[in-house]
């Protein structure tokens, strides 16, 4: 296992864009949480607040044609992959114009137009699906790669082993990314994990692993780019462990009372957005430059909220469409 902490020379323009992207994700989720409190978002939301550097650093290195599989905590990944926030917001509100027509909600966002093949409500289920997508890429001899993101809790599910073994056996073009935020819902993941952790497990399955500070967007960006280039060049599957911290509760409704505020306050000091801004300002750039970029994003999200709020409900027929083709009787025996 490689532990990577160094970064290449800072590209300030890129860093500013990354800063803005992180702000954009943060704004999206904060808006969704507020909407949730207003009663406008009925289903559960799993915020990735504090983990945005991974989304930006990893998914920013994927081509549109590349494939992404994510989890219940996937807003950030999805946005960076290219999905449009207003469609995502409509989805969270269950409205017309939703990216999945309002049928999926936060946990089932997908956008096949930009290679986003789905968030998932079942922990770890995306891993074997991702392996299969990569398998198809190999069969079709295309130049795409797959990126599969999951949490540290997912490494205790069987499909983690089955999917990684599969990727190794068939030598597939896939980057596995473990967002190691220390928690699986209300449980500290370490207490329920035997052995040295995600990287050791990946390596035992024949997949080279790299462990990084997932809250340093420049490091994530550098390492992800290098891994992705290697995979695209035919180097086979790779595994990235990005250490981070979930600054909010497991869901928008979780006060996270199972950890003390001193711990959380300390962790806020390592907020990747703050750290990124510090890096930018250290180069001597005035802070209105990054703020200007960020504000454009905030405006986009504000508008997404307005659109979603005012959008009509879906046609009720959507409750029965898109089930399957060959159905003599889609609406069942009695309705």
């Amino acid at each position: 296992m490689r532990i990577n902490t160094t970064r290449s020379n800072v590209d300030t323009d890129r860093l500013i864009q990354q800063y803005a992207q992180m702000r954009r994700i943060r704004a999206f989720e904060e808006t969704a949480i507020a909407a949730s409190k207003e009663g406008l978002v009925k289903g559960a939301i799993h915020p990735s607040i504090g983990q945005e550097a991974i989304a930006v650093g990893v998914c920013g290195n994927l081509e549109t044609d590349d494939v992404l599989l994510s989890t219940h905590r996937g807003h950030g990944h999805t946005m960076v992959k290219g999905a449009v926030p207003v469609e995502m917001m409509c989805e969270l509100f269950g409205k017309q114009g939703g990216i999945c027509k309002g049928k999926g909600g936060s946990m089932h966002i997908a956008d096949f137009r930009v290679g986003m093949l789905g968030s998932n409500g079942v922990v770890g289920a995306n891993i074997t699906i991702a392996a299969g997508a990569a398998h198809a890429i190999k069969l079709k001899k295309s130049n795409q790669i797959v990126c599969c993101i999951f949490g540290d809790g997912a490494i205790n599910r069987g499909p983690f082993l089955e999917g990684l073994n599969w990727a190794g056996v068939f030598d597939l073009p896939i980057l596995f990314v473990c967002e190691d935020n220390g928690f699986a819902a209300t449980t500290r993941t370490k207490t329920m994990t035997s052995g040295a952790g995600p990287a050791a497990r990946a390596e035992s399955l024949g997949i080279p692993a790299t462990e990084i500070d997932g809250n340093d967007v420049a490091v994530v960006d550098d390492v992800a780019r290098e891994l992705i280039d290697g995979i695209r060049a035919g180097g086979g599957p790779r595994f990235l462990v990005a250490k981070t911290y979930r600054l909010t509760g497991h869901t928008a409704a979780d006060p996270a009372a199972y950890r003390d505020s001193a711990e959380v306050d300390a962790k806020w000091q390592g907020d990747p957005i703050k750290r990124c801004l510090d890096s930018i300002l250290q180069t001597g750039i005035e802070d209105d430059v990054p703020e200007y970029e960020a504000n454009k994003c905030l405006e986009e999200i504000r508008q997404a909220y307005e659109v979603a709020k005012n959008a009509p409900w879906p046609d009720i027929g959507e409750a029965f469409s898109d089930v399957q083709d060959s159905d003599l009787d889609t609406t069942g025996a009695n309705q």
Binding site: V122, T193, I316, T331
Partner: protein
């Protein structure tokens, strides 16, 4: 009698059974902090973290482990969080737990309870809303329980824990907050396979279970005001199910509607309707009916989710259409 919620009734039942029998213990994700719905809050304090145990996100190991632990003489209560996640542990439940006693020639029974919260609840969408009770009724070796009230949860959970075979215990997520009277007797239990008459009536029988019972009773109230007397039977246990009670009611009314939240096609309503058609044909005054969800996954969007819901209105309409 004390007033308590459906959730509290389940917790009280578990606590009492854990006090009564050291071999009873519970395991599942996040239980140490009360479980995802708070059904275990406070139990770790009384019983310790070994008996109210956290688990890794390993549904297959939770269920498979319960089989081994049950074979060794303990009585595990395993928490699946949402019944949908039990689909990650079906081999363990169906090929192992349900068959071990038979396959090994009766050498050992496998006493375990799998808690599988079911049903639609707060826009939880397709992977967190299913009601697959009919699957388990199809599997020899499994007991299937789906209580609708705090008292039934209390009494049936206790019975399930004391039962020597694997029980799939399906609480409805939308009922957690439902309040009702519960017996103060510590030895209060409810036998498996005994239905409850939720409302007496004489013109038509509605058979239901879990959350839909309340909807059926509401429909019955409406219909009563229109002059139709509806008998609502809460099945409570789906396997074994109380044929006797259902048949007696249909004998009296000559009409049957089965209403449930699950998909209608191959739902447990089919089993009941088929049984009545086979065995009570000559007592029937007209066609017997099912009302369930269309064969469509559950949507996220609230108005779409509502489309697949069995409501008091459509139960009443179905009854009216049956003449």
């Amino acid at each position: 009698m004390s007033q308590m919620t459906y959730l509290e009734a389940g917790k009280r039942a578990l606590a009492e059974e854990m006090r009564r029998d050291e071999m009873v213990w519970a395991i599942g994700e996040d239980l140490g902090r009360g479980g995802v719905f708070g059904q275990y809050i406070g139990l770790a304090d009384e019983f310790g973290r070994e008996r109210i145990s956290d688990a890794p996100i390993s549904e297959a190991a939770i269920m498979g482990g319960a089989v081994g632990a049950a074979m060794m003489g303990t009585r595990p209560v395993v928490e699946m969080r949402f019944s949908d996640f039990a689909l990650c542990a079906i081999d363990e439940l169906v090929n192992q737990a349900a068959k071990a006693r038979f396959m090994f020639g009766g050498q050992k029974k496998v006493p375990l309870v799998v808690r599988e919260p079911i049903g639609m609840w707060r826009s939880s969408a397709a992977q967190h809303s299913q009601s697959l009770e009919s699957w388990y009724t199809h599997i020899p070796g499994l007991v299937v329980v789906a209580p609708s009230t705090p008292e039934d949860t209390y009494g049936l959970f206790k019975t399930s824990i004391r039962n020597d075979d694997p029980v799939v215990f399906m609480e409805h997520k939308n009922l957690w907050g439902l309040t009702g009277n519960v017996s103060d007797e510590e030895d209060f239990t409810i036998p498996l396979g005994k239905a409850r008459i939720a409302r007496e009536g004489s013109d038509i029988t509605i058979v239901s279970w879990s959350a839909t019972v309340h909807v059926a009773v509401e429909a019955a109230d409406t219909l009563a005001s229109e002059g139709t007397s509806v008998e609502v039977i809460d099945l409570r246990t789906l396997w074994p199910w109380d044929k006797e009670a259902v048949f007696a009611s249909v004998e009296k009314t000559g009409r049957l509607l089965v209403a449930h939240e699950a998909v209608s096609v191959s739902g447990f309503g089919a089993e009941i309707v088929a049984s009545v058609a086979e065995e009570m044909f000559s007592s029937l005054k007209g066609p017997i009916k099912r009302l369930g969800a269309p064969r469509s996954p559950v949507s996220y969007s609230p108005p779409l989710e509502d489309q697949v819901r069995v409501t008091a209105n459509n139960i009443a309409a179905a009854v009216r259409a049956m003449g």
